[in-house]
């Protein structure tokens, strides 16, 4: 989903939602006061979900087609929401935002980095944690380039047996 949204936002030069930006969008954004009710409903959900006063520019960029906007937004909610009760071990919302930040840095998405950096902070990740995300992202962007440049063949790992209902996100 991160690449889905970033590709549109950077492709049509959506202004950043939080950082200073001189980007001028290449298409008209649908502002809330001009939006039809079905679009406003998505905007309201998005503002609540992200704690924003104004819907993200990337949603305003796709709101010319309300049905398309609703479809994409439903997918975003499903992908980034907290796991439903009874699904222990699934990723929590902050971890998903951490991955979205790493993906945005890797894709060099100005819009995505601005958005997800703000979101991980809003969800409570301290600056030391932000640095850790950037460190791991930087290291593995480097390691993957080394591996590809040398054409390192992957190693076949035997599948690991996992205890039932184990939570891989907690230190052992």
């Amino acid at each position: 989903m991160t690449n889905n949204l970033n590709s549109l936002a950077d492709g049509v030069r959506c202004p950043l939602d939080f950082g200073a930006s001189e980007r001028r969008p290449l298409l008209a954004l649908v502002e809330p006061d001009a939006a039809p009710p079905e679009v406003r409903a998505v905007y309201d959900e998005a503002c609540r979900f992200y704690g924003m006063d104004r819907p993200p520019a990337v949603l305003r960029a796709m709101a010319g087609d309300p049905a398309f906007l609703r479809g994409v937004w439903s997918a975003v909610r499903a992908a980034f929401g907290e796991p439903e009760p009874g699904h222990a071990g699934r990723l929590d919302r902050l971890t998903k935002e951490v991955l979205a930040l790493a993906a945005s840095v890797t894709a060099k998405s100005e819009y995505g980095v601005d958005f997800h950096l703000r979101e991980v902070r809003r969800l409570g990740l301290p600056e030391a944690g932000v640095l850790e995300v950037l460190q791991v992202t930087q290291l593995f962007n480097g390691y993957t380039k080394i591996a590809d440049a040398l054409r390192l063949a992957p190693t076949d790992f035997a599948p690991l047996a996992r205890p039932k209902d184990a939570d891989p996100m907690r230190p052992g």
């Binding site: 690449n3 990723l91 971890t95 951490v98 991955l99 790493a102 993906a103 890797t106 894709a107 990740l125 301290p126 030391a128 944690g129 850790e132 995300v133 460190q135 791991v136 992202t137 290291l139 593995f140 962007n141 480097g142 390691y143 993957t144 380039k145 080394i146 591996a147 590809d148 040398l150 054409r151 390192l152 063949a153 992957p154 190693t155 790992f157 891989p168 996100m169 907690r170 230190p171």
Partner: protein, 82 residues
């Protein structure tokens, strides 16, 4: 197929082999990853990257599991099969 010959672990010196032991223990595996061999082939570069990785990957604010997820996501985005 690799474009450089990767030495076998026993072709390295005792200090390097100690690092390989640590690496096997860290990943819970019984072989030396090819990337570890590459890094030991150029210690001037590999030492720094190894030090940075040892700093970055353990549980701190983020868990090691979360960091391995980041590594997997970055690898997938870069279509790096290794």
């Amino acid at each position: 197929m690799e474009i450089v010959r990767l030495p076998e672990p026993d072709e390295f010196g005792p200090e390097d082999r100690k690092i390989f032991d640590n690496t096997r223990h860290w990943f819970g595996i019984d072989f030396v990853p090819k990337m570890s061999l590459v890094l030991r082939m150029r210690p001037a570069i590999g030492d720094g990257l190894t030090q940075a990785s040892r700093r970055a990957m353990p549980d701190r604010v983020l868990t090691r599991g979360q960091k391995e997820l980041i590594a997997a996501a970055v690898s997938a985005m870069n279509v790096c099969e290794y």
